[in-house]
């Protein structure tokens, strides 16, 4: 079952909240994205190394490595990779730091899926243009 046929954008979603992660993944798959989900920072880095996605959606608060650390590591190894921070944490500093460390954007949970998809497409377009 497919809602829309999209250009195959490969998205990696990292979030420790599994219920959220799986549901979001399913919905994005329904919209034609190629989605990989991981529930920890370490797993996220591993996944990127194995198969680099087009866009990474990253939670900030995770038990092993937090989002900012993952972001720093990813940007170090894959400078062209676009990362969107999606978090329930309202810390402006964290968002700002994320932007400074090269995140594409910063979105707060709960998010309107269309808004998230919009951001992912923007990030994808930017990555392609680079």
């Amino acid at each position: 079952m497919k809602l829309h046929e999209k250009e195959h954008i490969r998205v990696l979603i990292a979030d420790d909240e599994v219920e959220f992660l799986e549901t979001l993944g399913t919905r994005m798959k329904l919209r034609g994205f190629e989605v990989t989900t991981v529930n920890s920072g370490g797993a996220a880095i591993q996944a990127v190394k194995q198969d680099t996605p087009d866009v990474v959606v990253l939670d900030l608060k995770m038990p092993d490595l937090n989002g900012l650390e993952v972001l720093a590591k990813l940007k170090e190894d894959f400078p062209a990779l676009e990362v969107i921070i999606l978090t329930g944490q309202g810390s402006f500093e964290a968002g700002k730091e994320g932007m400074e460390k090269g995140a594409f954007d910063y979105i707060m949970k709960p998010v309107d899926l269309n808004q998230l998809i919009g951001k992912i497409e923007e990030a994808y377009a930017k990555a392609k243009a680079a």
Partner: protein, 566 residues
């Protein structure tokens, strides 16, 4: 160290007790009274002591002087009476010259002597010659006393022994007061003692005392050995009444004061049975004394009145100072408490927001997924209703998330972008922004902006947010056809903006809570109760302050103070 802490606590506890427990419970009336009484006591007591001492000293001085004068007057009087008695005695002794016994036992000679005496001294009443056995040998006088036997009389023995006898005053046969003077002499012919006895009218004594009594002396009289008055007294009655004062009777010489403020002095007159008593009303210098006392009393009273006035003022001043310092202290404490509470509520709110945000995101995704699945499912019974439910869930999640996002805003420390700016410009921008809304509600806005307001170094966006929030509230408060006034001016170097409305006002029970998060009196769909608390947070972050004054039925005024230098 422990001892030090214990000591400090003990001191603090007792200091609190002394100052009336804690300052918010202090009894200012009590403080005023104790201050007043303490200062009064400190100032009045020395004054009274000095006044009392000088009063006493002056009194003592007067009494001493009085006593000295009384003493000298008494002495003079005693000397005068002694001289008079001595004189009488000399006359009689001279008449009873030793060898005259034979001569005087002849009636005619005695008569001649008596007449001669009477020529000089009219007060002689009679005269008699008594032989050594006590038999009156000759007599001249109003009674027939010749041959009377005096041998058993007490006075006769006495006169033979000591040569002279002066009697008390007594009432004779004629009921006239008399006294007797008898002298003994030695007859060389018979080689026996004989006695010449004369009776003298006591009015002589009375007249003499009246003569020596001066105007200053209030009373002067003679008493005998047992206190019977020999002459009349103006204070104690006629002769032969009893004089009560024992001291005068028993002592040779005595001075004393009686309860009626009389000064008594008494002294024995030698060789007589009499004691002279002199009475003077106390205080020689009556007028001086009264003057002094009145002057002293006036001065003391004046001092006390002035003292009371000054001390009353001082006590009031001090009490008011304590009270105002307490009030300032209390206000600071309350303010600190308030902002502390707001800060902790803010932190709590942010925490709650964060905790709710994650499950909210899950609800959102689950409902979204369910909607996605429904969208691609074939039609079935109730599909539309379920879709509707899911949409409603989505909307509610959105509503919740606006709240949680605002809550998280408390923790959000938005970057302050300071720049030189004109507060009036910010206000004008906000007014333009709200123009449309005010026009629809026919709200009149009056602005009095001080044209030469100094520029402030602050964050324009955040200031806009502050003014916008307050003005939004004002617009909500006034409703249609209301008035809002905006004023800006400089107060103590800071820029102050007052936004005032003529809305219904805020009641006293609501007023203290308006800056607390979630506190709202608006309908739940109109306000989250976060606007003013965010405004408060923003203005505090900019180093300023916001206060509110409101009167029910008259309106509300918010005063926002912005420091020139953030």
């Amino acid at each position: 160290m422990k001892v030090y802490i214990a000591l400090k606590e003990w001191l603090a506890f007792h200091a609190m007790k002394v100052l009336g427990e804690s300052y918010n419970k202090r009894n200012y009336k009590k403080i005023r009274i104790s201050l007043f009484t303490t200062i009064m006591a400190i100032t009045i007591i020395p004054l009274l002591i000095i006044a009392g001492l000088s009063y006493n000293n002056y009194t003592d001085l007067l009494i001493k002087e009085e006593r000295d004068q009384l003493e000298s007057r008494l002495d003079k009087s005693i000397r005068a009476i002694s001289a008079m008695v001595e004189n009488l005695r000399t006359v009689i002794e001279f008449s009873a010259w030793q060898d005259r016994y034979d001569e005087l036992t002849v009636q005619a000679n005695l008569e001649k002597l008596f007449i001669r005496l009477k020529q000089h001294y009219t007060f002689f009443a009679d005269i008699g010659v008594i032989d050594s056995r006590g038999i009156q040998q000759s007599y001249y006088g109003p009674y027939d006393l010749e041959g009377t036997d005096y041998s058993n009389e007490q006075w006769f023995t006495e006169v033979l022994e000591s040569g002279i006898y002066i009697s008390n005053i007594y009432l004779g046969f004629r009921e006239v007061p008399h006294f007797t003077i008898a002298v003994s002499s030695f007859d060389p012919n018979s080689r026996k003692k004989w006695v010449l006895r004369t009776t003298i009218d006591a009015s002589t004594l009375q007249n003499f005392i009246n003569t020596i009594k001066t105007a200053r002396i209030d009373d002067l009289f003679l008493i005998d050995q047992i206190g019977i008055m020999q002459t009349s007294s103006s204070l104690y009655g006629e002769a032969f009444s009893k004089y009560k004062e024992k001291r005068a009777v028993s002592n040779e010489y005595s001075f004393y004061q009686t309860e009626e403020n009389y000064f008594h002095g008494s002294g024995r007159i030698k060789k007589t049975p009499w004691t002279l008593v002199l009475v003077e009303k106390e205080y020689v210098h009556q007028q001086d004394w009264l003057d002094f006392r009145n002057r002293l009393a006036t001065i003391v009273l004046l001092c006390i009145i002035i003292d009371v006035l000054i001390v009353y003022g001082l006590a009031n001043l001090l009490t008011n100072l304590i009270r105002s310092s307490d009030e300032i202290h209390m206000k600071l404490l309350q303010e600190a408490e308030h902002s502390d509470r707001l800060a902790s509520i803010g932190r709590l709110a942010a925490g709650v927001g964060h905790e709710i945000n994650n499950p909210l995101a899950i609800i959102n995704e689950k409902a979204g997924l369910a909607g996605d699945i429904l969208a691609v499912s074939p039609d079935f019974e109730n599909k539309e209703m379920i879709t509707g439910c899911l949409e409603s869930i989505g909307k509610s999640v959105k509503r919740c998330s606006t709240i949680t996002h605002r809550l998280l805003g408390f923790a959000k420390r938005q970057e302050v972008k300071n720049q030189q700016l004109q507060v009036n410009d910010v206000l004008k921008e906000v007014m333009v922004f709200l123009d449309n809304l005010m026009l629809t509600n026919r709200i009149k806005i009056e602005s009095q902006l001080q044209y030469d307001l100094p520029e402030v170094f602050s964050d324009q966006m955040q200031l806009q947010q502050v003014f916008l929030n307050i003005l939004n509230n004002a617009i909500d408060a006034v409703g249609k056809d209301g008035h809002i006034s905006i004023m800006s001016h400089v107060v103590a170097g800071d820029v102050r903006v007052v936004i005032q409305d003529d809305g219904p006002g805020i009641t006293d029970d609501v007023l203290p809570h308006i800056f607390e998060p979630f506190f709202t009196t608006k309908d739940s769909d109109k306000g989250t109760g976060l606007g003013l608390s965010i405004t408060y947070g923003l203005i505090k972050k900019l180093g300023g302050d916001i206060t509110v004054r409101s009167q029910v039925g008259k309106g509300t005024a918010f005063t926002i103070t912005i420091p020139v230098e953030n």
